[in-house]
């Protein structure tokens, strides 16, 4: 009969198949005697796939939304260190907590900061005047970079993450649309089947009379 593929049309830029909207159910099923079980099952499979993709993308989006502010903060910090090195001026506190603020004009004075030892525990430290910073890249990997390299690395990471986030959000919207189209298709095929059964039953009764 008509075991047409559900996905035979275009895909969106990232390979998510587009769901075809079935305008004419009868034609799709191949005439008034078309089987509905197979198409219905295919639709259900497609809906399950869409839902799975939706869950994946939502997770990915959440991860990105968490990472991006972190990268921004780190980039901001590196830029700040760069500035300080270039200007050798006394700037604001690095941390919001109690850090020593001595407003001397001595350009060689190193920065003091309070840093986090533990969730509720902080200690004071002096930062050396160096142009090397260490970036934690995850997976037990930490590399040292010159300030400028660190800044450009962070900038590119940030851009990548933001682009990825944008793409993921687009994909999510696209998925929602396709999911709705699929559910509408399922409903229409099912209703058409119900109607057909009713007509057959009425025709059968009329014949018996």
């Amino acid at each position: 009969m008509s075991a047409k593929l559900v996905f035979q049309e275009e895909k969106n830029p990232r390979g998510i198949p587009k769901a075809p909207f079935i305008a004419n159910v009868e034609e799709y099923l191949g005439g008034p005697d078309g089987a509905v079980e197979t198409p219905l099952k295919n639709f259900q499979d497609a809906i399950a796939k869409y839902r799975y993709m939706d869950a994946n993308l939502t997770q990915r989006r959440k991860g990105l939304e968490d990472k991006i502010p972190d990268i921004r903060k780190t980039l901001h910090m590196v830029e700040f260190l760069q500035e300080k090195r270039e200007d050798r001026d006394k700037n604001d506190d690095l941390e919001d907590d109690l850090s020593d603020e001595e407003n001397s004009d001595n350009p060689e004075k190193p920065l003091t900061t309070t840093f986090e030892l533990n969730d509720t525990l902080f200690a004071e430290a002096e930062l050396e005047d160096t142009d090397t910073v260490y970036l934690w890249l995850g997976a037990n990997v930490m590399l040292s970079y010159k300030l400028s390299e660190a800044a450009s690395l962070l900038r590119s990471k940030l851009d990548l993450a933001e682009a990825s986030l944008k793409a993921t959000i687009e994909d999510l919207e696209f998925l929602r649309e396709q999911l709705t189209v699929m559910e509408v298709n399922t409903a229409r095929v099912y209703n058409w089947d119900v109607k057909r059964r009713r007509e057959r039953r009425l025709a059968g009764e009329a014949n018996e009379k």
């Binding site: 780190t74 109690l98 840093f115 509720t120 525990l121 902080f122 002096e126 930062l127 050396e128 934690w136």
Partner: protein, 156 residues
């Protein structure tokens, strides 16, 4: 459900309850038990955190000021530096207050916290145990009832 004259969670005349009510009570007890066990785990976590804080304070002590450390500026940015103040640490005491304490004071503070949690844990442990006993008693009664109803299907 049939209430009792005692204020204990255990029903004294539990034998009067039918199976349905018994299973309801059992479900309720299970929920409470779950909740208490979760709280217990959370308290244990908090206690472990405070214990590690004590460790951290201890770390600051033996180090002399000149040792180079990597100072975290954000959670992925570290800058080399050294301790400027090896005698005081800053402790978050809650509601947005941060107090600069000496090492000894900070250690004492955390140890008090750990002790407080320990007493809470003990109390919680007792409560959990009592609930578990209630549960097993209830299950016994349920089984007895089940057997009873099976051997006397026409019991009125």
């Amino acid at each position: 459900m049939a209430s009792t004259t005692s204020s204990q969670p255990q029903q004294i005349n539990v034998a009067d309850l039918d199976l349905q009510q018994l299973s309801d009570v059992r479900r309720q007890l299970e929920e409470e038990l779950n909740h208490l066990t979760n709280s217990f785990a959370q308290l244990k976590q908090a206690q472990a955190k405070f214990k590690s804080c004590i460790e951290n304070v201890r770390e600051i002590k033996p180090q002399n000021k000149g040792t180079t450390i990597l100072v975290p500026l954000t959670n992925s940015l570290y800058v080399p530096g050294h301790l400027s103040d090896a005698e005081n640490v800053i402790v978050d005491v809650g509601t947005g207050y941060y107090v600069k304490k000496s090492r000894a004071q900070a250690t004492k503070y955390y140890e008090t916290k750990v002790e407080y949690i320990r007493t809470n844990l003990d109390t919680l442990q007792e409560t959990i145990q009592k609930k578990q006993e209630n549960m097993s008693y209830l299950v016994n009664v349920m089984q007895a009832k089940l057997q009873q109803s099976q051997t006397q299907p026409t019991k009125v």
